[in-house]
Symmetry: C2
Subunit: 546 residues, 2 copies
């Protein structure tokens, strides 16, 4: 049996566009005489469609598209994910297209409701396993989480007889460490059922998520014998050959796609794809960002250029009297290195007028923190005005460490449409910058930008270190508190300094409102700020005893 995995970039809601892509991939697969062609989970409507699934007309439209696909692609077998409305229920289903029609439907049995997933909000679990006979092979169909609980799956499939291959269609978003976990799951499944496993994953950016592709094929020993491209579309074709001894071999037809070898490269590619797809899928051609001469905006600019091309990125420096000649020069140098348009819009005169107007209010302090933050708010106003005028997307440049502790001005530097490095801790920002320079063999991000102690430059001689702990320490505390939900006590017991832990936790807890009012950004860690982490704004819980 020849199997193909159509790992493609679906757009949520673009039923006709997704179907057109599927048709083209099918035509290409037919040239290679494929018996079975699988597409990802909910491929027809994109993943996750969220509350579109509550619209009856959306479910109807998505069904019609699958029926038309079946009619348009009558040869061999296609498995494609869609949202199925049946009686009063909705299912996360795989349609089996054969002979011009939907011949069978498998309904996902294991729904997930953790992290970014909300499947019970929409779907009922299926209760019936489905197996296909393809070229004499027994091929059970599964969807995503179905294969992650091997005990459940063994029981679910127990009456289907010995399988030669399990097909799994997935929409599994990227985070660091995810691909290793997937390989383990797919390998374990193959071994357990003594059959091949064909795992077809989605690719593409969708709001805060990036699906990274890297579809997998395993033989019956659990060995991964083929991997699809990372962060790109691919059509993976292989022959599945049962041997007389009961094992099942898998022989890829094409050479193995190159895979990222370093976690930093994975992150960089995820950020590029996430930025490109957010911009393109939302109809933006150009992006704008403030270039401060600091490392966060430098990294964001480099990612934007890699995502959209230098001709579509505009860097804007907006100096006040507190910006040093060095940082202004670095911003310009950065723009030159990247070959992007660069604008200078000084804000000192606007700042003076604002201060003048606010001086009329008793108690206004022309040297206080509100005055300092006004600079960020003016810059936000300028960027949003340019976005408004030219229809460009504003990228914000805050990293995960800042976002966690609220070291940002609400409606100032948080003003924009998309927060590229929102889930990248500051310590990783440095590593990514170095990696980009290294890969390019030159200082795209000037070494001074990397070496200068971080500063917001909102008052004379300001340093991040005046307000925040050292970033190495901060990121350790944040990883434990935010990503692993550890308690203050656990963090202190693990050797982190009590006072700093307490101060950081308070900052994280108090700034929930600021995060809620900031743009979405790309998830790269197991727990990002966004759909992954849903804390109330109004929340008096204090995990310190005192």
């Amino acid at each position: 049996m020849r199997v193909a995995l159509g790992q493609f970039n679906a757009v949520v809601g673009d039923l006709a566009g997704n179907a057109e892509k599927i048709r083209k991939i099918w035509a290409k697969a037919m040239e290679s005489k494929v018996d079975l062609l699988a597409f990802p989970e909910l491929a027809v409507c994109g993943y996750p469609p969220e509350d579109l699934l509550l619209k009856k007309h959306f479910l109807q439209d998505n069904r019609l598209v699958v029926e038309k696909l079946a009619a348009d692609c009558p040869d061999k077998t296609i498995i494609v994910g869609f949202a199925e409305s049946f009686r009063s229920n909705t299912y996360n289903s795989a349609a089996v297209l054969q002979k011009g029609r939907i011949n069978k439907i498998y309904r996902k049995g294991l729904l997930v409701d953790y992290g970014i997933f909300d499947e019970r909000r929409y779907f009922q679990p299926g209760t019936e396993p489905v197996a296909l006979n393809i070229a004499g092979l027994n091929v059970p169909v599964t969807i995503c989480a179905d294969i992650w609980n091997i005990r459940w799956l063994s029981n679910f499939l127990k009456n289907l007889g010995q399988a030669q291959m399990i097909i799994n269609i997935s929409a599994s978003p990227f985070h660091l460490g995810k691909v290793e976990k997937r390989q383990e799951i797919v390998g374990r499944c193959a071994k357990k059922f003594n059959c091949a496993v064909a795992y077809c994953n989605l690719v593409g950016g969708q709001d805060e998520l990036v699906f990274d592709g890297r579809s997998l094929l395993a033989d019956s020993t659990g060995r991964i014998v083929a991997k699809g491209r990372a962060f790109d579309e691919d059509l993976i074709i292989a022959d599945v050959i049962p041997a007389a001894d009961g094992t099942v071999q898998v022989k890829p037809v094409q050479p193995q796609a190159q895979q990222p070898t370093d976690p930093l490269d994975e992150v960089y590619q995820a950020l590029i794809l996430g930025t490109r797809d957010y911009a393109r899928k939302n109809g933006f051609v150009k992006v704008l960002l403030g270039l401060s001469g600091g490392i966060d905006s430098a990294l964001t600019a480099a990612i934007a250029v890699a995502a959209l091309g230098p001709e579509n990125v505009i860097g804007i420096t907006m100096p006040s009297k507190f910006n040093s000649p060095e940082t202004i020069a670095d911003a310009e140098k950065m723009a030159k290195n990247l070959g992007i348009e660069f604008l200078t819009i000084p804000i000192e005169a606007i700042l003076k007028q604002f201060d003048q107007a606010l001086k009329g209010v008793p108690g206004w302090n022309s040297e206080g923190i509100a005055y300092e933050n006004l600079q960020a708010r003016i810059r936000g106003g300028i960027l949003m005005s340019l976005s408004n005028q030219f229809g460009s997307l504003v990228l914000t440049t805050g990293n995960k460490s800042e976002t966690a502790v609220g070291y940002a001005t609400l409606y100032g530097d948080t003003a924009g449409g998309f927060a590229v490095i929102k889930d990248v801790p500051k310590t990783m920002v440095y590593k990514l910058a170095e990696r980009i320079n290294q890969a390019d063999g030159r200082q795209i991000i000037p070494i001074d930008v990397i070496n200068r102690p971080p500063t917001a430059e909102l008052r004379p001689d300001q340093k991040d270190a005046d307000t925040l702990p050292d970033y190495d320490l901060l990121d350790k505390i944040l990883k434990g508190y935010v990503e692993q939900d550890k308690s203050a006590q656990q963090l202190v017991e693990s050797g982190l300094p009590r006072d700093v832990v307490r101060r950081v936790i308070r900052m994280v807890d108090r700034n929930e409102y600021k995060r809620r009012l900031s743009p979405p950004g790309i998830k790269i860690t197991p727990k990002a700020f966004g759909k992954d982490r849903r804390l109330p704004i109004t929340n008096r819980y204090n995990s310190f005893d005192d």
Copy 2:
């Protein structure tokens, strides 16, 4: 048997504070010789605690608080909601406190995952019914949704024998029409099981939700014989008396609390409580808002004054050259009527400086929409600066109609912390304003403000009607499209004009990003923008065929 319902205002995460309130209510109930005292669902930790439930130390702390409560309140029986960690699962549970300890635990059987609810994210469903014997009566314990599916409940309770009273502890948030539904559910349950029903609801604001209290007692004929206060704490006490003929009577000990008689009064009270609790529970004393002389900010100011007192509300008018003397005068009049502090901060000079700075960018249009919106962005910057300086909360003033179609400037008039009337359609804004004047017997909101055609005053002679359909028509389309998830076709078939329907739907769909970046506001309709309605930003679905 004497039963009491401790309808109180819990704060999410405030374990110690909530326990202290529970102790005081218990002490008071004991004075009335109550046999059974019930508190709302998750009363110990507040509702909804969201991802606090993923923190093991939070679950432990919440358990310890319940154990201490049991020890502190040894007399009679208390039923109180808490989040129960048991083995590797978490349950939405009711602890039965008797003789100084947690004597029994009931685990919610029917979890809900629609609208604002995400219970499967956190909880496993319970599978064992629990009934108490209180003063010789058989009293099954249920939690919220358990009684909303009467078929499920009948089956679940079938082995417990004839009940004399079913207790239900709830956290049921307000929306228009909800209280009628609850009364129907409670009445139906009483009739079906031929027993009394004691329904204890939470009260208080929590981010976008307002729990409205109005706990209920029904006798075995399904008649509602007692209702707790609306939008306020209450202790409802009644005697439950089984008769020889198998019926169960319920005799309230105190007189019936007054109930709102008009839906507009319900909405007004919800907005007041929601605003007060958002401010107070988050530690804000004062609030700020822009007073434009228009009806939205007038209504928001009136609600803020009712919520927090005139001494804690500051109205700020920020005129540019486009604001008419009439609207400026109305803003001032409004402030005087309400007795609030009033500041005037003209923005013309700031606007000129901004324009001057932006003129350096080729293509900047000093008369275009981006220039117009700069006025809103400057106002947002001023309000946020004052918030930053004085620690006051900025209230935004956008209504539901505007929010739906994106008729607002992102990071301009949407800049703030809490959006009081975000879920109030414009047509209801007028009705509320009139109702407030009527109730006060004078023009708190000046009649000119109510009668003037709505305008954003961002350019000469601008009217909302230049851009938007008439609000009556707009609100009809929005109700169908947003609240009822109707398709364009259904709306057109119901008699709404095709072109306007299409235009409005496009505006709603395209402005998802703007809503995502705007502050939370109080839910008053069955479907509010917020946790109720979760649409992707990146979304190409178009329900028009063409």
